[in-house]
């Protein structure tokens, strides 16, 4: 990103046209303010993260030792399914949307999102979607138990009654995501301050712009696939039922056509966040800004032609296997470029290690480890041994937990002083970081081992040779889980008390948002800043 020189119109807090927020519950129900909506998204996502986390702990508690101790296999399957759905659609995606709401207008110098009323809608339908999904836990027959990938016919002919509510929930959250994406694209393309050309935009904005296009391209496909399920279940069609001329494998193709870009939807904004944080704490401009943008764009494009690498064992023709193997391996190239660029940014910088930087560094290392296992999984013949084992579980948790989740935490710590006006309590931040870092690795690293040794995923009980590493993973999960209470404490404390933060907050921070006072006033950039 080019250095941003700004002529800041002096902020008049007492401007008669700029009244503050309304009072009471109405403020939150009717708000069209991007900061309010961003906060609500983030709080919602934190709640979902906790609920999904409790489910993860139930799973890990059952897997602490061989044998069935705590839950029945059917309930175990409901837990794995709901954990996946809630973490993907309830925790990670809304957290990124929340960050986008807060930061994109401030980073491009816009007064608000382009479509503020739709913004309110896209948030407020989300709690209903998850209320519907969670209520299925209390329905006869239980919640969805067919895995977050809901392969037919387990999710159609053989599904519990609650599948209809699941489908309805997915429709609503899909609509919410699509509306959010439209809003973000409109904001970025139409509301940038004068002089903020596309290639001057911060990388967080860039990655979100590309992510939003991915969302518009694939969330409707997800809506389509659940609609087909709905029709198969209730209206007698046979999209996925061989008896009527359908094909269960078709489900997997359509699902992963959505599912693989979805994976990048959960990681591209993280790339953006890390590309903001590392230059700040290295006090050096991001290395290879342009190639970063091209890398993100090519990852996004490639994500449309790799979906069947999730299906190597499904019985594809040889050419299919070879094609999807090559395409998948290609993705390693732009991803590698990003990692190299981050390292080059740090090289000959002037580094300090505040909490956001620690999370960002952990991201680079652990995400790269997840990338390596991803590269291994791309090797189709070897995938016959890895597929659907704990090796896969280890892989995607490495890219999603110390990947997506760590980036969200890094972003929270990075921008929190801007939101609340209080400097961070570094001691508590570092306690949270180290507990999380150790917890994550104890949890997920041993999963590589049991996976390679032959433990399938999604099983409530396992053979004895997997016992030791599983106990270890369970201990790690509880460390990681409970250390998030420190995170909640840190956020709440920062909202309430703390040293007054300066406008720039971090010594090396560059960009429009750091020209605003901390906390950022309710209305910002009502008069667009001039970017030179």
């Amino acid at each position: 990103m080019a250095t941003v020189d700004v002529d800041l119109p002096h902020v008049k807090e007492d401007d008669p046209h700029h009244h503050g927020p309304a009072r009471g519950l109405g403020r939150w129900l009717y708000t069209t303010n991007h900061k309010d909506i961003g906060s609500m998204y983030l709080i919602f996502s934190l709640c979902m993260f906790m609920i999904g986390g409790i489910m993860a702990l139930i799973i890990r508690a059952e897997l602490f030792q061989p044998g069935l101790q705590l839950v029945e296999p059917n309930f175990f399957n409901q837990m794995t399914t709901m954990h996946g759905l809630i973490m993907v659609f309830g925790a990670v995606m809304p957290a990124f949307v929340g960050l986008a709401n807060w930061m994109i207008p401030m980073q491009v110098g816009a007064p608000d999102m382009a479509l503020p009323r739709m913004n309110n809608w896209s948030f407020w339908i989300l709690p209903f979607a998850f209320l519907i999904l969670l209520s299925s836990l209390f329905m006869p027959g239980g919640a969805p138990n067919f895995g977050w990938t809901f392969y037919a016919p387990l999710s159609t002919t053989y599904a519990p009654e609650s599948v209809t509510f699941f489908i309805f929930g997915v429709h609503i959250m899909g609509a919410s995501s699509i509306m959010g994406a439209i809003n973000i694209i409109a904001t970025i393309l139409n509301m940038r301050a004068p002089g903020m050309t596309l290639l001057k935009m911060p990388l967080f904005v860039w990655t979100w712009l590309i992510t939003a296009f991915l969302l518009i391209a694939v969330m409707p496909v997800l809506a389509g696939v659940v609609t087909m399920m709905l029709m198969d279940i209730h209206f007698g069609t046979s999209f996925f039922n061989a008896a009527g001329g359908g094909d269960p494998v078709l489900f997997q193709h359509v699902f992963w056509f959505f599912g693989h870009p979805e994976v990048y939807i959960m990681i591209l904004p993280a790339f953006g966040i890390i590309s903001e944080i590392i230059p700040t704490f290295a006090r050096k401009r991001l290395f290879g800004y342009a190639s970063m943008v091209y890398a993100v764009a090519s990852i996004a494009l490639l994500s449309f032609v790799v979906w069947a690498h999730h299906m190597f064992t499904v019985g594809m023709p040889l050419v299919g296997e070879v094609f999807f193997m090559f395409a998948t391996m290609l993705i390693a190239v732009p991803t590698g470029v990003k990692v190299f660029n981050w390292v080059a940014t740090m090289f000959r910088g002037s580094l300090t290690f505040e909490t956001p930087m620690l999370f960002a560094l952990a991201f680079v290392v652990l995400f790269t480890i997840g990338g390596f296992s991803g590269l291994m999984l791309a090797i189709a013949p070897a995938d016959f041994q890895y597929h659907d084992t704990y090796f896969v579980v280890a892989h995607f948790h490495y890219v999603l937990v110390p990947g997506a989740i760590f980036s969200i935490m890094a972003a929270t710590y990075y921008w929190l002083p801007k939101w609340t006006g209080h400097q961070l309590n570094e001691t508590m931040g570092k306690i949270h970081f180290w507990l999380s870092f150790v917890g994550v690795n104890i949890t997920f690293f041993p999963m590589h081992f049991v996976g390679l040794a032959g433990m399938p995923r999604r099983i409530p009980d396992y053979a004895l040779q997997f016992a030791d590493f599983n106990s270890m993973a369970s201990v790690g999960a509880f460390i990681f889980g409970f250390s998030q209470l420190v995170f909640i404490y840190n956020v709440i404390q920062n909202v309430r008390v703390g040293e007054k933060a300066t406008a720039q907050v971090w010594e090396g921070a560059q960009g429009l948002e750091w020209t605003l006072p901390s906390p950022a006033p309710y209305h910002t950039f009502s008069t667009p800043p001039e970017v030179k």
């Binding site: 816009a110 007064p111 382009a114 479509l115 739709m118 699509i178 994406a181 439209i182 809003n183 694209i185 409109a186 393309l189 139409n190 509301m191 940038r192 301050a193 004068p194 903020m196 518009i216 391209a217 694939v218 969330m219 409707p220 496909v221 997800l222 809506a223 389509g224 696939v225 609609t227 087909m228 007698g236 999209f239 061989a242 008896a243 009527g244 001329g245 094909d247 494998v249 078709l250 193709h253 359509v254 056509f257 959505f258 019985g315 594809m316 023709p317 040889l318 050419v319 299919g320 667009p528």
Partner: protein, 193 residues
């Protein structure tokens, strides 16, 4: 890009919304696209290669083992099996075989056989000239039948393929049939278990 242009935003949002709706349609379009894809690659050996075909030359130089297997998915109670487990054919010659089916229940039933071929690479070369799987098969309670299959292996079959397996999964479609067809069921009063 000076000041936020309301009309511009409206137009852009509408375009994006249209794109989203189009992608919803594309999700459904993947269904026929997938069929075309299967047709070309032989993936899953679905219902294609049907009907009469003109193959003039018989490749006498080699034989291919064509193997038949059957599956009764779900709770399909029929007895269903090939009368010959496998036959050796020369590519290009047309051969007939029959499958035996019996409905051992006390109800009139309708079944549909779903074919599938492995290796998938061979699927485009196995032509079903006439097959009981083209139609639904009704059977009276306790009745049995022999169902014919007439097929040709295309002489263009790659040399390295020596065995082709044709599998039939027999599905019970009696319930789907009830709606559209008056069924000649004598045990009408009998409760279904």
């Amino acid at each position: 890009m000076a000041v936020h242009n309301e009309n511009h935003t409206k137009r852009l949002s509408l375009r994006l919304a249209t794109a989203a709706i189009a992608m919803f349609g594309f999700g459904f379009a993947l269904v026929p696209l997938y069929d075309v894809f299967c047709d070309i690659t032989g993936l899953n050996g679905k219902n294609f290669n049907q009907g009469p075909i003109q193959i003039s030359t018989v490749d006498e130089s080699r034989t291919v083992k064509v193997q038949f297997i059957t599956v009764n998915p779900g709770n399909m109670p029929w007895n269903f099996e090939p009368t010959e487990r496998s036959i050796r054919v020369s590519p290009g010659e047309d051969r007939q075989t029959v499958f035996y089916a019996k409905n051992p229940t006390t109800n009139w039933m309708v079944a549909q056989a779903v074919p599938s071929v492995t290796p998938s690479e061979a699927a485009p070369y196995l032509h079903k000239v006439n097959c009981f799987c083209f139609e639904r098969q009704p059977l009276e309670a306790g009745a049995d039948t022999e169902m014919p299959l007439l097929f040709i292996v295309d002489p263009k079959l790659p040399e390295h393929i020596s065995t082709i397996t044709l599998s039939y999964a027999l599905y019970d479609l009696t319930d789907n049939q009830k709606v559209t067809q008056v069924k000649p069921n004598k045990d009408k009063g009998r409760a279904r278990l």
